[in-house]
């Protein structure tokens, strides 16, 4: 999320001479701890605030105010010729761990599965590893099967999935083109299969997505309020989709504030 925050800050400073925003990375915990300590005005976080963090802030005499500024959805994609429509998170995990190697095991045709992934330096790769392959478990030490194709760009993944009926890939929703098939994903068998759309990401039914947050205390300064208002504006939200995240709708921003 630090990339998004950096681009936002850069753009905002370009347009508003005199405003200076410094962005520091380090992870969601770092940002929220700094908010508790009062060293930052805004904490960016790719997860919601923990109860302990909320309590710490209250002990310091402040209330946390949460803003959902964008969402991040990862679509699982296959070739349009592939008859497979739905997969559970566990099935996707087993595919990428190398335990399922033929589409026939998933009700598809008798074809080998070709796994596609982004390179290891991609944040999406790490997120997919932690939340899908390891199903969010910290103890799980599984990694991608060694024959997983690591492609250097999102476009590379889209092209291969479009051309190759054996392929399965994942990519930020922003990169997905209409000529690949998006898989409907269910968290487990008892839950309905959901396709990633801006709607299902916002209402939280699509399982491979996360909200991106900004936190302030209860009385942000005028400058911070202006910045947050700009972030919910069309220009900043366009940056959100440019970077492959899901923008928040204008309605959502009204709720957020």
């Amino acid at each position: 999320m630090v990339n998004l925050a950096l681009v936002w800050a850069e753009k905002y400073q370009e347009e508003n001479a005199g405003v200076r925003i410094s962005v520091t990375g380090g992870g969601s915990g770092t940002g929220l701890a700094s908010l508790v300590n009062g060293t930052v005005d805004i904490a960016n976080a790719s997860r919601s605030i923990k109860t302990e963090e909320k309590e710490q802030l209250e002990q310091a005499g402040h209330q946390a105010v949460e803003y959902v500024v964008a969402s991040d959805a990862i679509a699982v994609i296959v070739n349009p010729e592939n008859p497979v429509q739905n997969l559970t998170l566990e099935e996707i995990s087993r595919i990428y761990k190398g335990e399922i190697n033929n589409w026939a095991e998933l009700g598809g045709e008798n074809r080998p599965i070709v796994r596609l992934s982004r390179e290891t330096n991609s944040g999406t790769h790490v997120y997919f590893l932690e939340e899908v392959i390891r199903l969010g478990s910290k103890e799980d030490k599984n990694i991608f099967a060694p024959d997983t194709l690591l492609l250097p760009s999102s476009e590379g993944i889209i092209t291969e999935v479009r051309d190759n009926p054996n392929a399965i890939g994942y990519d930020g929703l922003g990169y997905v083109t209409p000529d690949v098939k998006v898989i409907a994903v269910a968290k487990d068998r008892s839950l309905p299969y959901v396709k990633p759309t801006i709607q299902t990401v916002i209402n939280g039914t699509y399982p491979i997505s996360r909200d991106l947050y900004m936190y302030t205390n209860e009385s942000p300064s005028q400058a911070v309020q202006d910045y947050l208002a700009w972030i919910y504006g069309p220009e900043a939200q366009e940056i959100v989709s440019d970077l492959g995240f899901v923008p928040v709708s204008t309605k959502q921003s009204a709720n957020g504030e």
């Binding site: 074809r111 599965i113 070709v114 290891t120 330096n121 060694p146 024959d147 690591l150 250097p152």
Partner: protein, 302 residues
């Protein structure tokens, strides 16, 4: 007056000699500095990462798995594959252009080969992704077209212009009296080419091949786009039809994100050092072969 002109000529000569000498020394200095830098950054990897971990079979750096074995075999597969394609095709093209083609064909072919040399590797990569890889997948009924073979064909293609133009030059320097003498002895054109012209140009041809192979080992962009970058271990002859990951592609795709001084950073430099040693070895072999041939021919002539 005359002496003044002579002094200024002396000065001019002095300055030009100095410039040329500096340029020569500078290139030596740069090579030394680059090697020193590479060694300084790479050597700590050998102490920080145990040798058995380094020559392991799994490359997954974000979990601390630094097995470079699949990367070595990946580069090797691509190099052998591309050489098998580029060397015969390149040599035959050079022989055709230099010995057989009528002048008007020669005039068309030579610039075309040079244009081929000018195609940027990223464009070759696009061709690979959009045309060659789907074609290979359907022809050989492969799970995916992003394989070592795809990379080999494209890199072979990239190496052909180097091989053609250098070995064509070598063939051209063979004195026409050799050919005439051979033909006068009643040999056919083919016998002259195979028995006289090509062996006489041998050292130049070997240099051409080595330059071509050097190009293949160091090529990055195309292989990164078309070989699938999966760090798999080779399994017999089928390896050529499977995705592989080369050393160059690994460095290119991972260097941008590593923290300076980390294990991962130093292992990447270690891989760079291996590549450097590879191409150094190729150059030394090429130099040895070509200088040995010159000596022998000199002996024959004297």
């Amino acid at each position: 007056m005359a002496s003044k002109a002579r002094t200024s000529i002396h000065y001019g000569e002095f300055i030009i000699t100095l410039l040329i000498r500096t340029a020569g020394y500078l290139s030596v200095l740069f090579v030394l500095l680059i090697s020193l830098f590479l060694i300084r950054e790479a050597v700590p990897a050998m102490f920080k990462v145990p040798a058995d971990a380094l020559f392991n079979t799994r490359w997954y750096p974000i979990e601390g798995l630094y097995g470079i074995f699949p990367l070595l075999t990946g580069s090797l597969t691509i190099t052998i594959g591309a050489s098998l394609i580029a060397i015969p095709l390149g040599l035959l093209t050079a022989v055709y252009i230099s010995e057989i083609a009528p002048p008007w064909t020669k005039e068309i072919l030579k610039p075309l080969v040079e244009i081929l040399a000018g195609i940027p590797s990223v464009v070759l990569g696009f061709l690979g992704i959009l045309v060659l890889s789907p074609f290979l997948r359907e022809t050989f009924n492969l799970p995916t077209g992003l394989t070592a073979l795809t990379g080999s064909i494209l890199l072979g293609w990239a190496a052909i212009p180097t091989i053609v133009s250098v070995s064509e030059d070598a063939l051209n320097t063979v004195p026409s009296s050799y050919r005439e003498a051979s033909l006068a002895l009643g040999t056919t054109r083919w016998q002259t080419i195979w028995g006289v012209t090509v062996p006489s140009a041998r050292s130049g041809i070997i240099t051409a091949i080595m330059l071509g192979v050097g190009r293949v080992i160091g090529e990055t962009m195309t292989v990164m786009m078309v070989t699938g970058n999966a760090p798999t271990m080779p399994s017999g002859i089928n390896t050529i039809l499977m995705p592989i990951r080369t050393m160059t592609a690994t460095i290119a795709s991972e260097m941008g994100e590593v923290a300076k001084g980390s294990d991962h950073y130093q292992v990447l430099f270690f891989i760079g050092l291996i590549l450097f040693v590879f191409s150094l070895a190729i150059n030394i072999i090429a130099f040895q072969i070509s200088s040995r041939r010159i000596k022998r021919s000199e002996r024959l002539l004297s």
